[in-house]
Structure formats: structure tokens, C-alpha cells
């Protein structure tokens, strides 16, 4: 029929890990894919936390979780990321425009930076909770 279907009790999936500074700055700042594209499927991110490991992040304007088409889910100003501070979606310094919103069909998720390369930090821990609809 072509309609988007969601199971009555959709599972929550978790993408978690660590991205070194070079991975944040990869692909001219688009960063690194943490959930690959999946044809015909739609991702909705429902919660996020990130933690900076190492010195305070400099250089870049923001660290961004977005879909692989560039639609922002959570953008966090680098000044929010003091060393070892766990930053949750909705905290001061975060913009969560499309948290809870279905992203582009077939698109995955990536974490990168904006404007300039991130400096000083060693790496970024992340935890992204999301659900998938067909």
C-alpha cells in the first residue's frame, strides 16, 4: 500500500560509542556515520547524551547530531562541552529542533562539527536512543 508502518510497540534502539577528534572533523566536518542509511526505513531520535573526553573543545562552533542528509537532531555549542561533562538533550547549550521527529526516509545518523575543525578534545562519547519505522 506504500504507507509508513510502525509496530504497535516499537523497540528502542541504542547507538553508543566513542568518536575521536579526527572522526568528528572527518568529511569536511560532516563527521562520522553512527547509524548507517537503511533503505525504506525512517529513524526518530528520542534521546541523546554526549560527553567530551579530554580538554575543552575549541575551534568548532558546535557539535551536531544529524541525519545523513544534514537535518539537525541536536546541535550543541562547543562551550557546553567542558571536560568530562555529560550533556543531555535539552540541557542549556543544546538545540533539539528535530528530537522526536521522524527524519528523512532511508537516512542514517552522523555526528560532526560546524564551521571549523574541533580542537583540543581527545574524543566524544555518545549515546543515541532511537526508534525505526518501515
Amino acid at each position: 500500500m506504500g504507507a509508513t508502518t510502525t509496530p504497535p510497540f516499537p523497540k528502542t534502539r541504542v547507538a553508543s560509542g566513542n568518536l575521536v577528534r579526527a572522526s568528528l572533523n572527518a568529511a569536511s566536518g560532516a563527521g562520522t556515520v553512527i547509524v548507517p542509511d537503511s533503505a525504506g526505513r525512517t529513524i526518530t531520535v528520542i534521546d541523546v547524551w554526549m560527553r567530551n573526553v579530554g580538554g575543552n573543545i575549541g575551534g568548532a562552533t558546535a557539535i551536531v547530531l544529524e541525519d545523513t542528509a544534514g537535518t539537525d537532531v541536536m546541535s550543541t555549542t562547543v562551550g557546553t562541552f567542558d571536560s568530562n561533562v555529560l550533556v543531555r538533550a535539552g540541557a542549556s547549550g543544546t538545540t533539539v529542533t528535530n528530537l522526536g521527529v521522524a527524519l528523512g526516509k532511508g537516512k542514517g545518523l552522523r555526528i560532526g562539527r560546524t564551521v571549523s575543525d574541533a580542537t583540543t578534545t581527545t574524543s566524544l562519547d555518545y549515546c543515541v536512543l532511537y526508534k525505526i519505522a518501515n
Binding site: 523497540k11 528502542t12 534502539r13 541504542v14 547507538a15 553508543s16 560509542g17 566513542n18 547509524v35 548507517p36 537503511s38 533503505a39 526505513r41 547524551w49 560527553r51 568530562n84 561533562v85 555529560l86 550533556v87 543531555r88 562519547d125 549515546c127 536512543l129 532511537y130 525505526i132
Partner: protein, 128 residues
Amino acid sequence: MALTSPQLRTARGSALVAAIDAGVTIIPAAPARIITVVDVWMRSTGSTDTCDSVDVTDGHTVFASFEDAALTNGALKRIGAANTAFTNLGTAAASGHGIQVKTAGAGIGTATAIEYCVHYKVSSKAAA
């Protein structure tokens, strides 16, 4: 097409402080299974004075730690808040280890129970 991200699982419950002092297994050990704790909240009934902290641990590594000052009566505290430690949050436990909620230091005074909610994922150890 296989999806690459594992399902989020949750261990949620409440235990009396005597059980927390001894250690409560909230996720049992499973051979060749690797547990990664990704988020935690706790809430105390009564304040948790006396103890050093209430920890989420596999017995070797502490993944989340709530100091007694964090667990004031009736306040829901998320890991990452003041008086919590989370160095190993998001780090995989050793293969085959379960997860406990356990007091560090002296036993909990004043409080009667600790409510916990631990989000985690499970993966398999690759065959040799």
C-alpha cells in the same frame, strides 16, 4: 536488511537498603554476552547518608556511581548530575559478567530503599 544498532533494554526496580549494601543483581550474568550500561537514574526513599556511594557495577568496573550527597530523599537523580561519577558509562563490561547495584563504603543509613532504572544493551562475544 539487518539493523546494526542493538535494542535498548532496561532493568528497573526497587530494593531495600540491606539488599543494596550486600549487592543486588539486576542483570544476571550470561555466558558470552557483553553488557554495556548506557544510562542510569536512581531515587532514594530517605536520604543515603553514611555510605560512600551507590554504584552500578559488574563487580570489577563501576559504570555509574551516585554519592550519598546525590541521593536525597525522593529526588530522582540522573547519572551526570552533581555528585555522580560516570567514567565508565558506555564502556562494555567483561564478557559473561552480570550487573549489580551495590553500596560502596559503609552501609546506607537513614534511607529505607533505593529505586533504580538502568538502560543497557547486550552484545555477543565474537567466537574465537
